[in-house]
């Protein structure tokens, strides 16, 4: 893979911990890889695995999911329920032929701006090493180009 490849990574962050952690990284003026596009969700328990599959379908090369540490969930058990879903889901994706290095899960609290930076850099490196995801709909250039076109893609906040 050429070293110029910049992966598109969708980061699903929970409202209460990881999003605040990302915010802290920002207000602390910390620098991290610019490859992630953040989508805020109320809780990792709100995350239907369908969202993750959809992200891959519309052309994401990698996914990061991040939520509150165990026992820190704002809704008490959202992250525990999510953890079980991920266990099955990530193995299913691997079985379907999507490399495990494309989907990452982490716990980042609102106080862990530094950890957020580490996680993002680590995930970006892992996805970079894998190269672009061969498009899920490999005969769907029209859809894939949504992410590739700077003017209408998610780079500029266009409609997914």
């Amino acid at each position: 893979m050429s070293s110029s490849f910049e992966p598109k990574i969708i980061a699903f962050l929970c409202n209460w911990c990881s999003y605040a952690g990302a915010d802290l990284a920002g207000t602390s003026r910390l620098k991290y890889a610019p490859n992630i596009r953040v989508i805020k969700v109320p809780c990792t328990g709100r995350l239907d695995p369908l969202f993750l599959m959809k992200a891959f379908e519309v052309g994401a090369d990698g996914i990061l999911v991040s939520g509150c540490h165990p026992n820190d969930c704002h809704y008490r058990s959202g992250n525990f329920l999510a953890r079980r879903r991920w266990m099955v889901f990530k193995d299913m994706l691997e079985f379907a032929g999507i490399e495990p290095g494309r989907i990452h899960f982490s716990w980042v609290s609102a106080a862990e701006g530094n950890k957020f930076v580490e996680v993002v850099n680590k995930v970006t490196d892992a996805v970079k090493a894998l190269g672009p995801l061969s498009p899920i709909g490999h005969s769907r250039p029209a859809c894939h180009s949504v992410l590739d076109t700077e003017s209408s893609g998610i780079n500029s906040g266009g409609n997914l």
Partner: protein, 265 residues
């Protein structure tokens, strides 16, 4: 056996213990018996039970038009018993709604049946599927993608896998919702990938391993590879197999604080 079944169904209908009996009759296809709803006692003579009786009858227990006929009697193979257990577990059915004539006894299934008329028939066996899963896992992810892309490219989005599945009972399937449209409806690579994986994932910890989706698939996609892979995964992670105990919560609707999290950064 079949005479005993016929006479019992006749008695049950005459005594009004049940309003309808769900069984099999001879259909147009000599290799596949046709499900039949018997409501009149004298009709019980139409029933058959042999190796061609593979269609999962438990699906019919939830149909509104069958529900209106009263208490439902059913002839239940091993897979059907497991599916009924799953439906009771998910509150789609109460034990009392259904009168079960089991054709196979199994100590693992906690759902009691009402009578047992033992008749072993050849059901789906997953040994071969497990072998193929192990073979697939030896390949690289790219090769597996190629395998699935090829298999899914056959999909014509007929949804036979969903219609036949005893555990797929949503009134409105996510695949039929279009605001937003999560799953592309066209039989294109993206739509097929999304549909087949979503279907398999929705059965995580719920699939009762009956093999019907794979049999019903008109284009021969090995759907049980996906189902069985998830089935084995749930068994390994949570020590759970669906369709044996209606009193425990489904594995993905509960959690354990000690669940393994070695994959989480």
């Amino acid at each position: 056996m079949i005479d005993k079944l016929k006479s019992r169904v006749k008695e049950l209908l005459e005594a009004k213990t049940i309003g309808v009996f769900i069984g099999y009759e001879k259909g147009d296809n000599p290799e596949l018996a046709r499900p039949v709803m018997i409501t009149a006692p004298e009709e019980a003579s139409r029933l058959i039970y042999d190796d061609t009786c593979v269609v999962m009858l438990s699906k019919y227990l939830l149909k509104p038009e069958v529900k209106t006929l009263g208490r439902r009697g059913i002839v239940a193979s091993y897979s059907n018993l497991r599916a009924i257990t799953g439906l009771i577990q998910e509150h789609q059915l109460t034990r009392n709604d259904v009168y079960i004539i089991a054709t196979s006894s199994n100590d693992k299934i906690a759902t009691a049946y009402d009578e047992l008329i033992e008749t072993p028939v050849n059901g789906y066996k997953s040994d071969e599927t497990n072998k193929q899963i192990a073979e697939l896992m030896k390949l690289s992810p790219t090769e597996r993608r190629a395998f699935w892309d090829k298999e899914f490219s056959k999909c014509i989005k007929c949804y036979a896998c969903r219609q036949i599945c005893p555990m797929c009972y949503c009134n409105r399937c996510i695949a039929d919702k279009n605001q937003p449209q999560w799953i592309p409806t066209s039989p294109n690579p993206a739509g097929n990938f999304m549909w087949n994986l979503t279907r398999a994932y929705h059965l995580a910890g719920r699939c009762v391993d009956c093999g019907e989706c794979e049999r019903a698939c008109p284009v021969g996609i090995p759907l049980m590879l996906l189902n069985k892979m998830i089935y084995n995964n749930v068994k390994a992670n949570f020590g759970y197999e669906a369709g044996f105990d209606a009193t425990v919560p489904p594995p993905l609707a509960t959690y354990n604080q000690e669940d393994k999290e070695n994959f989480i950064i």
